[in-house]
Amino acid sequence: MIRLDAERSVSFCDGLRRRDFLHAGALGMLGLGLTDLFRLRASGAVDTTKERNCIFLMLVGGPSQLDLWDMKPNAPAEIRGPYRPIKTNVSGIEISEIFPRMAKQADKYALIRSCYHTAAAVHDTGHQMMQTGRLFQGGIEHPSVGSVLAKMRGPRGDAPPHVLLPRPIGATGGNMPHGHGAGFLGKQYDPFILNADPAQPNFKVPDMLPPDYISTIRTDRRRRLREMVDQSVQELEAGFKVSQDARLLDENFNQAYTLMSSAKMREAFDLTQEDDATKDRYGRNRFGMSCLMARRMIERGVRYVTINMFETVFNEITWDIHGSAPFSPIACYRDLVGPMFDMGYTALLEDLAQRGLLDDTLVVATGEFGRTPKINPAGGRDHWPQCWTMLMAGGGVKGGQVVGSSDEMGGAPKDRPVAPAEVAATICHSLGIAPDAELTGVQGRPIRVIEHGFNPINELF
């Protein structure tokens, strides 16, 4: 039986070898003409000498700065909370006792303890701002940094440039977009979304290969027949051309064929190739397995991986510790969420470092806001966009340092306040995208990748 397999360069009845055919398709599937790419490179907007990657960990729910990475042990009990700080392997840096593994690797990451945003204190706005650098207003949706990278760099070989694991963020109360997509750049730059739980015991991406009764030759013939049927009616074609969904459908078919025929990409999704010890190290849960899969993606050419640690904040144990149902209690940090992050995050950093990938891969971990300094009557903490801590590692970032600080209650930045646009600028800087590079916005108007006046956090590098 013949199987689709790019590495074995199968010949097809039309004379094209599989890989040739793939490469032609791969660029097309991203809607990126070669000239587009060359133009960007020529203009200096894309620094091709820096081919770095990024793994963006969206800590959905909003982790508490005070219980995790910016502890205030001398503050009154209703502020400092139930956990104690511990020393790390970098002198002078202390973090929460619920992160024993992170404490041993503080030399790998930097803590930014002065993040804030000024939009409404709901989850959705923070998701938008942290992933795109901007709040969505006036009906305009901005692209995530991952989708900007997809637009500017295009795919590396068969790999989709931007992948989202495991699922998009669902309802978090605001009924607004969460900012992982390509926004005004167009849906062709949206991330490839796994939409499955990689921690399921028999996990596999559905329908990655044809059933046994359909040979490679037939798959290829069907593809050509489909194109024949599709291109036949010109009046209709004009309508499909102006329909974003119709263009997307074609791109999805192309992307599906690329995935099917790339052994490399199939491998990227195949966690059975990892041994038990590795899986145990990452943690056999959605977040851990997503981190492991992210490493496999980066190894195989994906440029940007977004991981949503949770899909919602309702009826699920998350960072969103309001203390009362349907949200989470503060104890879940110690019992569940904290260890899950501690394992997945440190395994990822260690693994990337051991494979020599950490220098070229920026790992960002942030929530959408922090939590109220004062513990509420339900024993939890509520939304607090005024101040929180985020983490950056790899991708040129010097680990073992703290940038910015908060006041004695962890309620406001004391020095070096960091806005979402500065975080986005920092990611762009690491990836070699000029913050002032221009994208084509709504109705053809140029729009800067990063809003004017916001710069990368240079002391990180």
Binding site: H117, T118, A119, A120, A121, Q137, G138, G139, K187, F192, I193, N195, V205, P206, D207, M208, L209, P210, P211, Y213, I214, R218, R221, R222, R224, L225, R226, M228, V229, D230, S232, V233, E235, L236, A238, G239, F240, V242, S243, D245, A246, L248, L249, D250, N252, F253, Q255, A256, L259, M260, T372, P373, K374, W384, P385, Q386, A412, V442, Q443, R445
Partner: protein, 748 residues
């Protein structure tokens, strides 16, 4: 020379037209209107203090809002900031007054030495302020705060005048790209006085690509199209419409000659003329029959039906076809499924028998064309055993009072009022009090288990209230902006709600339903999203939505009448092929907007063309996807193509957006591939009966695409078929290609 002069005159006239409505309000205001008692647009030093001094409710709070003090990022945060906590955008002046005058040993307000009040020292940065400099000495806002303190810091009282209307001038502006204009906003108060509050209003644009607006109400036009600038002032809202016609040169006769079948067309054409967009041509018969079947009944026409319709030479055949469709059982299935989405029919929270009872009640309501007002009234006032009265299951699904209030608003008013549960709605006029007044209509619903498993008895209780959380007491029950009911009234609270809801005068109920039905056919709601019906989210064609709503209520809330009117319009019958002026238009109905078939419709279409039904759990063989009442245990195909899980009532639960997972399932998945090889299926029949290639192709095209293959298509596919030595596989592959083509997967 004369021509050039003429051109210049026309140019000047047009320029005048653009500038005319943009003049400041003072120049156009008529003389017999009461003079303004406050004009915030004048220089601070020239503003006269109102007689009786500044009012806490009507001046101090707006100033704090304008300065951002009570925003969610500052002192309006749930926990306040720096120990100073205000209510979000001043929704509770009494509470704010207490915080400002009673806390911190009164240091916030210093009546002896007003300029030493923290309220003035901090935002001017005379002493450290975490929020930075917010207030300039000498500004109008500084004057209001300092003079209010100097005047003794008068408290808000119940008798303060309240805003009765916000008037924005101009309300409608036509401007070209690059043009600027200034809005003026006047607040009219319950005691008759008027204030120009332009400077203190909060502005936002619905579409920044058309026009933006700054904090002072200055507009700048960015590109062609239309946008609404919405204004929010003290929980009152209004909007101004900005139109920038597309730079197209279209002769008037294009619009004069454009076909008009009913009032819809008059109103759509008027809009297109205004925006300078040429409508696309009318669709052909084959195009029309496929579209009409799919949109109205979720099913494909059969080969015989297509043949008959195309061959029919009578002039009124489209209207006849529409009437026939409205009487088909597939029509009932389709619309029952739509209602089941909104009403969240699922065995997730209902027992299997109760789910069926709810679904059967819905389906029967659609079948007999129950007037929509009666159908919803039956839900709202439902009592009795849920296995007998299916409508009563609505209350089994929504047991919490607040959840009921919010679902009710989404399902029957097309709006979300969730924000108002905790504070006044930041974009809307709804206040927290209105929220809890409405919630109090749902507090007297009793439920107990019936005799049989799955049966619940719903009944009206004589007692029960919900407390307003801040006031700590219940408020008189009232539907949003409807009349309150006395606490001791013996009228059933749900009857009172239903009377308000289903009155033809209700400005939300019929309108939101009409908008949903319109979207089903036209691809885009007149208000988009259809469950975001806000005063600050105006429709793309107000006159049309008003006319449709009026027609609908005047015809006794008759859904079939509404659908018939829409489908018979020339606007519905246009092609999806764009012309040089309307490629960008998906808002004004100048062409049919192409869209992927909904999940259930697509699966049923695949089953119909292949002749192989899809099995569904617990359902009789041959059941169509649109006949399945449940949203649980969907086959993978339906999930991946976006059938809503029916967890919450929100339009975005259903998605028609293509994904890679869909493409993979179409290529490799078992759903389509098994149907193509199934014994007794269409491919099997073609091969076993030795149907000639050309005839087989003609059949597949008609069945799937409702048209004949054209000669060149036929030729190419015949050649491809002949290349294969395995006929069965070759037919399977061609059928696969047709059933995964855009032309098949889309309605057009």
């Amino acid at each position: 020379m004369r021509d050039r002069l003429k051109g210049l005159i026309i140019f000047m006239a047009l320029l005048g037209l653009w500038l005319l409505p943009a003049r400041p309000v003072s120049q156009v205001a008529s003389a017999n209107v009461e003079p303004l008692t406050l004009d915030t647009t004048r220089p601070a030093s020239e503003v006269t203090t109102p007689v009786g001094g500044w009012s806490f409710r009507n001046h101090v709070i707006p100033v704090l809002t304008r300065l951002g003090c009570n925003s969610g990022a500052c002192h309006g945060a749930l926990a306040g900031k720096g120990g100073f906590k205000l209510t979000l955008r001043g929704y509770d002046p009494e509470a704010d007054y207490n915080v400002m005058t009673r806390q911190t040993a009164g240091r916030r307000i210093n009546l002896m030495e007003p300029t030493r009040s923290l309220l003035l020292l901090k935002p001017t940065m005379k002493i450290g302020h975490g929020g930075g400099e917010r207030l300039t000495i000498g500004s109008l806002e500084y004057r209001v705060l300092s003079e209010w303190i100097a005047g003794g810091g008068t408290a808000p009282v119940e008798g303060d005048p309240r805003i009765t209307a916000l008037e924005v001038t101009p309300r409608q502006l036509t401007l070209a790209t690059g043009a600027t204009a200034q809005l003026h906003v006047i607040a009219r108060y319950s005691d008759g006085h008027r204030e120009d509050v332009t400077r203190w209003v909060k502005y936002s644009t619905a579409n920044a690509a058309v026009a933006g607006v700054d904090d002072d109400g200055a507009i700048k036009v960015a590109g062609p199209g239309e946008t609404a600038i919405s204004l929010w002032y003290q929980s009152n809202v209004a909007f101004a419409r900005i139109t920038n016609p597309y730079p197209n040169n279209i002769p008037g006769e294009v619009f004069d000659r454009s076909p008009r079948h009913n009032y819809i067309d008059e109103l759509v054409i008027a809009r297109l003329r205004e925006l300078r967009i040429t409508p696309s041509a009318q669709a052909g018969d084959a195009e029309f029959i496929r579209r009409a079947y799919l949109d109205a009944a979720g099913t494909l026409p059969t080969v015989a039906e297509v043949d008959r319709f195309v061959a029919d030479k009578s002039s009124g055949k489209r209207a006849t076809l529409v009437d026939q469709l409205l009487n088909r059982s597939e029509f009932v299935d389709y619309w029952a499924n739509r209602h089941a989405d909104t009403l969240l029919v699922s065995s997730r929270l209902l027992r299997e028998n109760a789910m069926w009872s709810f679904y059967n009640w819905i389906r029967e309501s659609v079948r007999v064309n129950k007037p929509y007002d009666r159908m919803v009234r039956e839900i709202v006032t439902a009592n009795g055993n849920t296995l007998e009265n299916g409508a009563a299951n609505y209350y089994v699904l929504h047991k919490e009072t607040t959840e009921l209030t919010e679902n009710f608003s989404m399902a029957f008013l097309g709006m979300s009022i969730t924000c108002a549960r905790c504070h006044n709605h930041p974009l809307e006029k709804w206040t927290q009090k209105q929220y809890y007044q409405m919630a109090n209509l749902f507090t007297r619903i009793g439920m107990k288990n019936g005799q049989r498993d799955g049966d619940v008895q719903v009944y009206s209780n004589p007692f029960g209230e919900i407390n307003h959380p801040r006031l700590g007491k219940p408020l008189p029950p009232a539907p949003l902006d409807g009349q309150p009911l006395a606490f001791d009234s013996t009228v059933d609270r749900r009857d009172h709600l239903a009377n308000w809801l289903t009155s033809p005068a209700n400005p939300y109920f019929a309108r939101s339903y009409v908008n949903r039905v319109w979207k089903n056919f036209m691809g885009r709601g007149l208000v988009e999203a259809v469950d975001d019906m806000r005063a600050t989210n105006p429709p793309s064609n107000e006159e049309l939505l008003t006319a449709l709503t009026k027609d609908f209520t005047e015809h006794g809330f008759d859904t079939r009448h509404l659908i018939r009117t829409i489908m018979n319009s020339a606007a519905y019958q246009r092609t999806g092929t764009p012309n040089s002026t309307n490629a960008d238009d998906e808002r004004y109905y100048s062409r049919y907007v192409l869209r992927r078939l909904p999940a259930e419709v697509l699966l049923d279409a695949v089953s119909q063309v292949t002749g192989v039904p899809t099995p569904f759990p617990n359902m009789a063989p041959g059941t169509r996807a649109l006949q399945v009442p449940d949203a649980k245990n969907n086959p993978y195909f339906l999930n991946v193509f976006g059938k809503p899980p029916r967890l919450i009532t929100v339009e975005s639960e259903r998605t028609a957006e293509p994904t890679v997972a869909q493409a993979l399932h179409a290529i490799n998945g078992e759903t389509l591939n098994q149907k193509l090889r199934a014994p007794g299926g269409i491919v099997d029949s073609i091969v076993r009966h030795n149907i000639a290639d050309a005839m087989a192709l003609r059949h597949l095209y008609l069945a799937a695409l409702a048209r004949e293959p054209r000669p060149d298509e036929l030729q190419r596919l015949l050649t491809a078929l002949r290349e294969s030595d395995d006929r069965r596989q070759a037919i399977e592959d061609v059928a696969w290609a047709i059933l995964t083509s855009k032309e098949f997967m889309f309605n057009h």
